[in-house]
């Protein structure tokens, strides 16, 4: 029992290390040139050689992403409440949002650059635009799936729509909302890096683009690793937040089995 638990605790690390070991071995066995696929050791070397630029730019990317994400949370929650509040609003806004979500956000970057110039602002906005949709959908879903009987109980007591929203709608939406944050934060990284690679002089996206121009392949991969680490860290932060805020909704043993 204890042993299995330990194994489960250790397995993420074992798998990650395993991936890197297999990677390193494959590069040596198949004699893959470093400019095609650098081995993890070369990527580690790039981390050491370029620690300054990597740190600086990853900090910028993180900031950009988090600001865009924060905007998405605020806006997504408001829009979700609005859409979940009234059926007319739902009917009217839903097709628009689906259409908007179907647009590849990279196609919006040129327009954002046109409006705001290159750099920080379009990257924040791209992160925002790409990540608000799942939040809206989840908040609206949470509100739309209130049990009608419960609504009847409260309405019969003279509850206003706002009462029902406050006492039932919003609390029961929280698990959906916090669940959507995990998706949204990962998407926000996608957005900010896309915009940085297309239209910025800063950030990991830009750093990778420059490394590519100079054929510093290990540095490109180092950029990818940084993004993966930031992504995992933020995802984990959201997962912890989710568990803290909505422990009541996570009593199923299913995921732990």
């Amino acid at each position: 029992m204890n042993r299995t638990n330990l194994l489960i605790k250790a397995s993420p690390w074992l798998f990650t290390i395993g991936l890197f070991v297999v990677w390193e071995a494959a590069v040596y066995i198949f004699k893959i040139p470093v400019f095609f696929l650098p081995p993890p050791t070369a990527i580690a070397q790039a981390f050491v050689d370029y620690s300054g630029p990597l740190a600086r730019n990853s900090w910028i990317t993180l900031q950009t992403t988090l600001i865009g994400f924060a905007l998405a949370v605020g806006f997504g929650m408001l829009l979700g409440l609005l859409v979940g509040w009234s059926r007319a609003m739902y009917a009217g806004l839903y097709p628009l949002m689906i259409g908007f979500n179907a647009i590849p956000k990279v196609a919006l970057v040129p327009i954002l650059v046109l409006w705001f110039g290159i750099g920080f602002v379009p990257a924040v906005l791209t992160a925002f635009l790409i990540s608000f949709f799942p939040i809206v959908v989840n908040v609206a879903t949470g509100l739309a799936t209130i049990e009608p009987e419960l609504e009847d109980v409260l309405k019969a007591l003279g509850a206003s729509k706002l009462d029902i929203m406050r006492k039932v709608g919003i609390p029961r939406t929280l698990p959906y909302f916090f669940g959507s944050l995990k998706v949204a934060i990962t998407l926000a990284f996608v957005g900010s890096v896309i915009s940085e690679s297309v239209a910025s002089n800063y950030g990991i996206g830009n750093l990778m683009l420059q490394a590519q121009a100079q054929f510093q392949v290990p540095l490109i991969f180092a950029g990818l690793v940084v993004l993966a680490i930031e992504g995992i860290a933020m995802y984990a932060a959201m997962a912890i937040l989710e568990r803290r805020m909505t422990g009541w909704a996570q009593r199923s043993g299913f995921a732990q089995a």
Binding site: L150, V153, A156, L157, K167
Partner: protein, 260 residues
Amino acid sequence: MSAFVTLEGVDHAYAGANSALAVEGLSISVNQGEFAAVVGPSGCGKSTLMKLATGLQFPRAGTVTVAGEKVTKPVKIAGMAFQAPTLLPWRTTLDNLLLPLEIVEPYRSQMRSRKVEFAARARNLLTSVGLRDQGEKFPWELSGGMQQRTSLCRALIHEPQLLMLDEPFGALDAFTREELWCVIRDLQAASKITVILVTHDLREAVFLADRVFVMSQRPGRIVVERKIDLPRPRDLEVTFTSAFTDIVHELRSHIVKARQ
């Protein structure tokens, strides 16, 4: 005894494309302090009757009167419980009970100053249905029967004059159901509250009610009204007597006719 809930010649249809009448020419009168049961084939508009009597829906034709007033808005003196307990999983049992008090006046504005008193009242109510000291548990830590008891308590916490029950025991196993029959019987005997129970369980209706109303196929109306004169207090044993089963049989034949 005066009529407490009256429906007179009520027609009702729900808004929407399929606007066939749910009930037509529905008339029923329930006295103050009476325990009424409404039975009928499924889809006969029993739940519509509940919604009309609590002011969640308003009739197309006819009038609904509760406590001497024509129903034009939700009837706040009513408590409701359904087949699903519909408890809020993020609130403890006790906080679930307090929910109606956070909504309905005059309790709503006194919630802060009288919180302790309200909590004590909720605990008493829990004790009365056999859930003593279960208040701090979350609904999902309770069994189905316990959840349904909690749901009943929630319907009663604001001391309503009318209790509307829509198949409240439908999802429970036979033994738990009979246990809860007794809980309801005792609650009603103690408080003399007016109860309208919608059910398709004839034994349940006969055991609990003073009068049983049989509804027809949709569009529903009352086809039979049967007074149950079994002496009170009724023990579960009464359900095995021939007098009891005769009434059940009689009602059953009415339902069979209504289904045709």
